[in-house]
């Protein structure tokens, strides 16, 4: 049985397998696109509802969550880049957190198809690379704006000298680890669900329990933790970009 399971896993669970379409000669992962749009719409809809019901009196629970997250992001941002905070930076951290969280939560709804019709879009490197690209462009922009040519120059003049290659290497490793960490964790969550689904029929009650427990763990713990880590590291990289060498 182990051999056959391994065979199925090898055949069915592979990264980069998506519903695709060719548009003007370009390949589009349609499932990633519409699930990310769905997550985005949900985030915006929730934001709109919170704003519509928002009050300066006793806030609703969702308003409390939105306020708490925005305040927490602001605190981290101020700690990282100081008090001269660009106005778009807190919204960036806030949007990353909620968008990634909702993307991750889509793993809760399996369609049972192969490939899944509603996969978490964060299990596609196209999305994680896209988010990372926005983050990298933003922190490089802020770093250059604050430090000018020293933003790059500092990498080569840092002391002790051993730090110099590490700093240069970080420019590649940080974005890669940021995007692949998110991708790996969410993709692994999907693999776990697939493995549970592959359990034989006579283990159906066990499989159903495993499925539920794993989803609870995945959505309740891993999804928010990964969303938090991505946002937090983003803010941290902004801090690295503007910090002065002493």
């Amino acid at each position: 049985m182990t051999g056959s399971l391994a065979g199925v896993l090898a055949a069915d669970i592979t990264p980069g397998e998506h519903i695709t379409r060719q548009v003007f000669g370009l390949t589009l992962n349609i499932d990633t696109i519409y699930t990310s749009v769905l997550a985005g719409v949900l985030v915006c809809l929730l934001g709109w509802l919170v704003v519509r019901q928002s009050t300066s009196g006793v806030p609703t629970k969702m308003q409390i969550i939105f306020e708490a997250v925005s305040q927490q992001v602001r605190t981290y941002v101020v700690q990282a880049v100081g008090h001269d905070v660009p106005p778009w930076l807190v919204p960036l951290g806030f949007a990353l957190f909620f968008f990634i969280l909702f993307c991750n939560w889509l793993a809760w709804i399996p369609s049972g198809h192969h490939p899944e019709y509603l996969p978490p879009p964060t299990a596609d490197t196209n999305l994680t690379f896209a988010l990372t690209a926005i983050v990298v462009v933003s922190y490089v922009y802020l770093g250059v704006k604050r430090k000018g040519f020293r933003y790059v120059g500092d990498w080569f003049t840092a002391k002790p000298a051993i730090r110099r290659p590490i700093l240069v290497l970080e420019q590649l490793v940080n974005p890669l680890s940021l995007s692949l960490r998110l991708f790996g964790n969410i993709f692994a969550g999907g693999i776990m669900l697939a493995v549970i689904a592959l359990l034989p029929n006579y283990l159906l009650p066990v499989a159903a329990t495993f499925n539920f427990v794993w989803k609870l763990f995945d959505s309740g713990l891993i999804a928010p933790i990964q969303a938090f880590i991505f946002s937090f590291l983003t803010i941290l990289y902004f801090g690295f970009a503007v910090e002065e060498e002493h």
Binding site: P15, V43, G47, S56, S70, P91, A95, P121, F129
Partner: protein, 189 residues
């Protein structure tokens, strides 16, 4: 292409990319999708959240200030009450001391007045006694003179025969009576 058509796409349209680490055109779409979400949250959601937060903070600040003012007012009233109480106690103490002092003064005055009256009365009594004594002395002397006269008359009539002896007896008697009156007058004064 509709979502239904997409979902109903045949398996042959799923594609396994050569390397999942190499992004395709989806990357550009995802960048745009996220930028739209970021714009919406940045422009439409967060400003309102911040405005509500600011308004709530302002309300809390005002309530805090009001509470602070109320506390200060209560503290001021408490201080005024304490001060008034202390002042009243001081006033009561002062009045008590004044009353005690006045009482002592009045007592002293009455005592002095009583002493003075006593002395005046005593003096008046002494004077009256002296006058009365003098009157008694005078009356006694007159009466004694009459008695002496009567006695001498008896003696003269009775014993003319012992002329010399009788005269001596009368003189001794008169001298004896005068000395007794003199001693009594000295004792009275």
């Amino acid at each position: 292409m509709s979502p239904t058509a997409l979902l109903a796409a045949p398996a042959t349209q799923t594609e396994k990319t050569n390397n999942f680490l190499i992004p395709n055109a989806t990357f550009i779409v995802e960048v745009l999708v996220f930028l739209v979400i970021l714009w919406f949250l940045y422009k439409k959601v967060l400003p309102r959240i911040y405005a509500m937060l600011e308004a709530r903070l302002e309300t809390i600040r005002l309530q805090f200030e009001e509470a602070k003012k109320a506390r200060e007012s209560a503290e001021k009233a408490q201080k005024e009450y304490t001060d008034a109480l202390a002042e009243t106690r001081k006033e009561i103490s002062r009045l008590r001391e004044e009353a005690q002092s006045e009482g002592a003064q009045i007592l002293e005055e009455y005592r002095q007045r009583a002493q003075r009256e006593f002395e005046e009365r005593m003096q008046a009594l002494d004077e009256r006694l002296a006058t009365e004594r003098l009157q008694v002395m005078m009356a006694l002397r007159n009466e004694l003179g009459e008695l002496a006269f009567t006695l001498s008359e008896k003696i003269v009539r009775d014993s003319l025969r012992e002329d010399e002896r009788q005269r001596k007896l009368v003189d001794d008697f008169i001298a004896g009576v005068g000395a007794t009156v003199h001693v009594e007058a000295e004792a009275t004064s």
